[in-house]
């Protein structure tokens, strides 16, 4: 960024700069005539910048104000010609010489929507909120005609058993209309095959919530970030991925590449290092039977990723993420097969 100094760039409060160099990729032609670098004292031009930022950005259709050190001019970005005319009129009224001002037409700058923001059509991988906790939405599903979403069993008021957990997206404080209510969360039991002595077990850490009426959701869609490669931790939402279907396996291939998308670490990827493993949940009496472990040398999971959809390299839904190690380089997910064995058949696309 050579032309827009972030320290001197101001955008209207209603807008958010997604990148300080937003306007440098294909500079639009200035509406006013291009002028030579102004001969005014830089301190004077900076004072004009201050006043144009304060007064000019209050005008409708303005995008940003900047003091351009290379030309010693005040730059005001506007959305359209009418806003440009108003800025020129204001400058004249405030005594800002035309030679010290460039008015440039540009696209308005919008919030970059992230996985932690309100996403009106609910898709897998976005943030959900209940009680004092945050998790990720797993995937949308229809069960017996009921539009639903699946997340982790421990992302309910109580892991195992239905308590009618009420969910918000992204936060109750942001959108007070709940999106859904927990309707299925089978109990953890001691006497099931493969359950270690003294533990309570299930084959999946998964629960189902029914969407409330009026809540939009897209079946078969999970969040896509703007990252071009995995493990960049970008949370910026850029459309969605269409699931190719459900992966029917509970045994995955060692070395197989597995992806997930969640509200904390975004799109991450690792390789299967253990399949159908019984995993003790740290500092609890719970064991999860026949789980898949995925590892990488970098972080691939973080607090709040519980519930995330896990998918293969062919975009087949593989399961629901529920945990990881303390450094975040290892994640554990419950295979979709186990989820459906416990919750019942689900239409996922």
């Amino acid at each position: 960024m050579s032309r827009l100094n972030p320290l001197r760039l101001i955008v209207p409060a209603a807008l958010v700069a997604v990148a300080a160099c937003q306007d440098t990729t294909s500079p639009p032609a200035p509406i006013g005539a291009r002028v030579a670098p102004s001969a005014y004292a830089p301190q004077q031009v900076q004072r004009w910048f201050d006043v144009m930022a304060r007064e000019g950005l209050a005008l409708p259709g303005t995008v940003l104000a900047d003091y351009d050190e290379t030309t010693n001019q005040v730059v005001v970005g506007v959305e359209h010609a009418a806003a440009a005319a108003n800025v020129h009129a204001l400058a004249a009224r405030l005594g800002v010489p035309a030679a010290a001002l460039v008015v440039r037409q540009m696209e308005p700058i919008h919030f970059a929507q992230t996985l932690r923001d309100r996403v009106d059509t609910r898709i897998g991988g976005i943030q959900i909120h209940f009680g004092n906790f945050l998790c990720s939405m797993g995937f949308n599903a229809v069960d017996g005609g009921q539009p639903s979403f699946v997340t982790a069993s421990h992302c309910t008021n109580k892991q195992g058993g239905v308590q009618g957990t009420v969910y918000y997206q992204p936060l109750q404080s942001v959108d007070g209309v709940s999106i859904g209510t927990e309707v299925e969360d089978p109990p953890y039991l001691r006497r099931i095959a493969g359950c270690p002595h003294g533990k309570k077990c299930r084959h999946s850490d998964a629960s189902r919530a029914a969407y409330n009426s009026g809540i939009n959701s897209a079946l078969g869609q999970i969040a896509k970030t703007d990252a071009n490669s995995p493990n960049t931790y970008s949370l910026v939402l850029n459309g969605s991925i269409s699931l190719s279907g459900g992966d029917p396996r509970d045994h995955f291939t060692i070395g197989e590449t597995i992806n997930k998308v969640g509200r904390t670490t975004g799109w991450t990827q690792g390789q299967v290092t253990a399949t159908c493993a019984t995993v003790n949940v740290s500092r609890t009496n719970i064991s999860q039977i026949c789980q898949t472990i995925v590892e990488n040398s970098v972080q691939i999971v973080g607090g709040g990723d519980s519930g995330s959809p896990v998918y293969t390299s062919t975009n087949a839904l593989a399961g629901v993420l529920w945990g990881g190690n303390s450094s975040g380089t290892l994640l554990v997910f419950s295979p979709l097969k186990n989820v459906q064995d416990e919750i019942g058949p689900l239409q996922i696309k």
């Binding site: 945050l134 607090g303 990881g324 190690n325």
Partner: protein
């Protein structure tokens, strides 16, 4: 120092200087206290404290329904002698807590030294930030 672990050691507690997670923005101070000296076989009590030093409520995010915290004990050469959460696999749920002005949360655990030497101890609080909160390292001298 042999024996007398407990009250006698309390005078030797060292408290790591507060860690400000995002200097100038976060009012939360994360500190560790541990005895400066102990001996092989005597448990070392370690306390982590998260303190809201401001006059306003401060929101914090924590990993786990029961808040997960880690303690790392390293030898002088950097090798890890003990890690509280080593090989732990836990749920990735995130807890939201608001600390009142002046409120302090604290977590305790104990480490049992098995060999003499100089060690460094650090507390860690995972959250949804890219880097967890970390206390400063404090030194613990373990005599035979």
């Amino acid at each position: 120092m042999r024996g007398g672990h407990g009250a006698a050691l309390s005078a030797l507690l060292v408290i790591g200087a507060p860690h400000m997670p995002t200097a100038g923005v976060s009012p939360l101070e994360f500190t560790i206290s541990a005895p400066t000296r102990t001996h092989v076989g005597a448990t070392v009590a370690i306390v982590l404290r998260l303190h809201n030093a401001s006059d306003r409520p401060a929101e914090a995010h924590f990993l786990g329904r029961t808040i997960v915290f880690d303690i790392v004990v390293a030898r002088e050469d950097g090798a890890i002698a003990w890690r509280r959460l080593e090989k732990d696999t836990g749920p990735g749920i995130l807890q939201i807590r608001t600390l009142k002005p002046g409120e302090t949360m604290q977590w305790h655990d104990r480490w049992l030294p098995r060999a003499p030497g100089r060690y460094r101890v650090q507390g860690i609080l995972p959250s949804d930030a890219r880097e967890p909160l970390r206390t400063p390292w404090v030194g613990v001298e373990v005599s035979p």
